[in-house]
């Protein structure tokens, strides 16, 4: 039905040029380029994402501030993972690894729910280098008595 199929396109930018005759009837969209029999067994970064999967796109430019992650302080409680609205906390084998900046919108929930003292995640200006941010990390807060 059409010269090339949306399914055949690998490059996200190529999609934008498609004419009416190249569209999949009914505007169906596909998650993957090939069958994935048991998707829960495949970690996100190993899936054969179609260019029509939002995973391949990014919303990082929505942010004015970004969460920076400090591994040294983290206790891997996974609060940040469970409450992240944007699947942007990368966690493997019960360990927090880092933030997926392509998908993080900078809401700051991960920082709010982080229970360590000082926090293992803090918001910093978007333009600041993460290593610089780590150098600026605050010290432990004394609890008010």
């Amino acid at each position: 039905m059409g010269k090339k199929s949306l399914k055949d396109i690998k490059d996200v930018n190529e999609i934008k040029e498609l004419g009416w005759d190249e569209l999949i009837p009914g505007a169906a969209l596909f998650s993957f380029t090939e069958p994935v029999e048991d998707v829960v067994e495949v970690p996100m970064d190993e899936r054969p994402y179609a260019p029509t999967n939002s995973h391949e796109w990014q919303v990082g430019d929505w942010r004015v501030e970004k969460p920076v992650y400090n591994r040294d302080l983290c206790i891997d409680c996974q609060f940040c993972w469970v409450f992240c609205p944007d699947m942007s906390i990368l966690s493997r084998d019960k360990k927090m690894i880092g933030v997926i900046y392509e998908h993080c919108k900078g809401c700051g929930i991960c920082v709010e729910v982080c229970p360590t003292n000082p926090k293992s995640l803090l918001m910093f200006p978007e333009h600041l280098d993460n290593n610089e941010a780590l150098k600026m990390w605050p010290k432990k807060e004394e609890k008010e008595k």
Binding site: M1, K16, L18, G19, W20, D21, L23, I24, P25, G26, A27, A28, L29, F30, S31, F32, P35, V36, E37, V39
Partner: protein, 405 residues
């Protein structure tokens, strides 16, 4: 496994039974429906088939027509054969979802028993509901009697499900005059019908867990136009599949269908262009006019959408005066048939006298004598070479003559 339903070579069915039998033979996987006069017996008959073991699929009696069509959309997107039936207000309630069905390219079959739209409330046949669906992107097939309602319902599945089409199909029949009038029907046996329609071919099924698919997306100004264009293109091109299915059906049954229905049009000077059961009355009127020496013919559409623009013009190319009969309140302009037939003729350089009659609203009887009057008026116009009557007239209306232009 459903039991085989033993059918006689000749059955006496009304249009509703004919449609219900075709739905049964199509082995519909999900039939979601809501009762409404005059299409109710379709779902009643179907549920009796189910109760007697003749149906394998699911029959869901939903709480509204909106849900009936929504259920068909979801089932079809899930990758199964889905169908329903409705009329009038129920059709109107479905309208939102009719556009979803065609836009998502789901080959649902909807048997429509044509009925007037309120207000004032009316349960009888006219074409208000059929006309309401004409921009919805569905294929619309028209039947005039129970045999045709049966035949076209079987063919609707084969047409809509063809991979080059993948569009929903409505099969229209007139309320009561067709739906409740028992007539002779020559059915196919179950296995013949099943073989003719073929197995349902799922496309992008939601039930395939290995290939997740997203149905019913949002497209804004950067995409919507292309998608609607694609849909229109495929609807326009569905003629070739419709023709192919008509031909295959003729090979199987000997019963012949074409985009345009013609009766004694070869030498006709004057023609009535009507839809639905009126075609059968007009045939009798035409025969009687011919006895009086007036070369009268009848023309109709088998395929209302897509509109067979060229075939209509071709069929009317030598006619001197045409009356288009629109059985729907035109709402401030000419009837749809008048506008579309006029456009087809004009584009082909033909300029017969064109009259528009609004008739039969809310089931008002249209007699042979009335149709003969139309032919007489057409004959006068044909002989004069110009319109001798107002371009739009109301036919069979009480009170002072209502006419415009």
């Amino acid at each position: 496994m459903a039991k085989k339903y033993e059918l006689n070579e000749l059955e006496v069915w009304d249009g509703n039974m004919a449609a219900a039998q075709a739905l049964r033979q199509a082995d519909v996987d999900v039939l979601a429906a809501y009762p409404i006069t005059p299409s109710t017996p379709i779902v009643q008959n179907y549920s009796k088939f189910l109760a007697d073991g003749y149906v394998d699929g699911d029959f869901i009696m939903v709480e509204s027509e909106h849900s009936a069509m929504s259920g068909c959309v979801a089932a079809s997107a899930a990758g199964v054969r889905a169908a329903t039936a409705t009329s009038s207000q129920g059709f109107a309630l479905m309208v939102e979802v009719l556009y979803q069905a065609s836009g998502m390219r789901l080959p649902i079959v909807l048997t429509v028993v044509n009925r007037a739209l309120a207000a004032p409330l009316n349960v009888n046949g006219d074409h208000s509901d059929m006309y309401l669906g004409r921009d919805s992107g569905w294929i619309q097939l028209c039947s005039y009697n129970p045999q045709e309602a049966y035949d076209l319902t079987l063919m609707a599945f084969k047409i809509g499900e063809d991979l080059n089409v993948r569009l929903p199909v409505m099969v229209h029949q007139d309320g009561f005059i067709c739906s409740h009038t028992a007539q002779n029907v020559y059915p196919l046996q179950d296995e013949e019908a099943a073989k003719f329609i073929g197995e349902f071919k799922p496309v992008n099924t939601m039930l395939d867990v290995a290939n997740p698919v997203t149905h019913g997306v949002q497209t804004e100004e950067d995409w919507h136009f292309e998608h609607k264009a694609r849909q229109h293109n495929d609807l326009m091109n569905s003629f070739s599949t419709i023709k192919k299915v008509f031909d295959e059906f003729k090979d199987l049954t000997g019963r012949e269908y074409d985009f345009v229905y013609k009766y004694k049009m070869d030498d006709a000077d004057v023609a009535i262009f009507a839809l639905g059961t009126t075609v059968e009355s007009a045939r009798i009127a035409a025969d009687q006019m011919r006895e009086q020496g007036i070369k009268a013919g009848v023309i109709s559409l088998r395929v209302f959408r897509p509109f067979p623009f060229n075939e209509v013009a071709e069929a009317l190319k030598d006619v001197k005066a045409v009356a288009t009969l629109d059985r729907s309140a035109p709402g401030g302009t000419f009837g749809a048939l008048y506008n579309e037939v006029s456009a087809a003729l004009l584009a082909h350089g033909k300029n017969p006298v064109m009259l528009n009659y609004i008739y039969g609203l809310g089931g008002r009887d249209t007699t042979i004598d009335m149709l003969k009057e139309v032919y007489k008026e057409l004959d006068e116009c044909a002989k004069a070479g110009e319109a001798k009557y107002p371009l739009q007239q109301f036919l069979g209306l009480r009170g002072p003559k209502l006419a415009f232009y």
